[in-house]
């Protein structure tokens, strides 16, 4: 299935449109999407820092998702690099 991934913070530097669409297996979990995004980053993003992705969380439009949670049935998934407001 295709999953739209929205990018924020440092990930915006990799993708001017701040979004990518990735293919993951049906019934995929957050961990699967993390792996797919890491593979995409290695292949397409010069200077990609995989360590940053490993420290990033994933979220639906309304909540942060656990690593073993299934991906939301609809809507984009959002990558949240380490936060630092204020």
């Amino acid at each position: 299935m295709k999953v739209e991934v929205s990018l924020f913070g440092a990930f915006r530097d990799y993708e001017p449109g701040a979004a990518v669409t990735l293919e993951v297996p049906a019934g995929a979990r957050v961990a699967d999407l993390r792996s797919a995004l890491a593979a995409h980053g290695r292949a397409h993003w010069p200077g990609f820092r995989e360590g940053l992705l490993m420290r990033s969380a994933f979220a639906s439009q309304s909540c942060v998702l656990g690593e073993q949670e299934p991906l939301p049935a609809s809507g984009p998934v959002v990558v949240l690099p380490p936060v630092g407001g204020g």
């Binding site: 915006r12 530097d13 969380a57 979220a59 690593e67 690099p81 936060v83 630092g84 407001g85």
Partner: protein, 166 residues
């Protein structure tokens, strides 16, 4: 009228107003007020800063703000008013990036609630800061991993302290 007001302010169109924040939390029953104002500073780790851009995942940030102020009410209320505003967009040195204002009957709850709210905003809210330096370069600040925060929150005696940034 609600006792809480939380907002993301797009600095292209408006600015955060600390006076309005204090006005919002005013109440004849309150004698204690505390406010935190975060401004863009001119240096970061020895480098001259000319501005900061804030990126915000607004939908989740506002949901998180609501949760943060309700937790403060549970802990320090029930008589409590809070105004919380964070900027989105590019700011210059000295511009206001964040304001937390709290009004309570007495000062102790006001100070403690204000501190708790700003720490939660900095550590948990999906907000990112990109610093722009005098030499023309820009860098995203290293912040708190929400994975690690969530894992810590799952521990019964979890606390988030021991480090400072921003």
């Amino acid at each position: 009228m609600s006792d809480f007001r939380c907002m993301i302010v797009d600095v292209e169109h408006e600015r955060i107003d600390p006076a309005a924040a204090l006005e919002f939390v005013a109440d004849p029953a309150f004698g204690g007020f505390a406010m935190f104002v975060g401004r863009v500073r001119e240096q970061n780790q020895g480098r001259a800063v000319v501005g900061v851009s804030y990126d915000v995942f607004e939908q989740l940030a506002l949901a998180g703000f609501d949760d943060i102020v309700r937790r403060a009410q549970e802990q320090f209320g029930p008589r409590l008013k809070i105004h919380l505003a964070h900027a989105r967009g590019r700011l210059g040195v000295g511009d206001v990036a964040v304001v937390v204002a709290v009004g309570t009957p007495h000062r102790d709850e006001a100070f403690r609630a204000c501190r708790q709210v700003i720490e939660a905003v900095k550590h948990r809210s999906p907000i990112w800061k990109q610093e722009h330096y005098q030499d023309g370069s820009s860098e995203w600040s290293e912040g708190c991993s929400l994975c690690e925060t969530q894992a810590r929150d799952d521990q019964p005696e979890s606390r988030h302290d021991g480090h400072a940034h921003g």
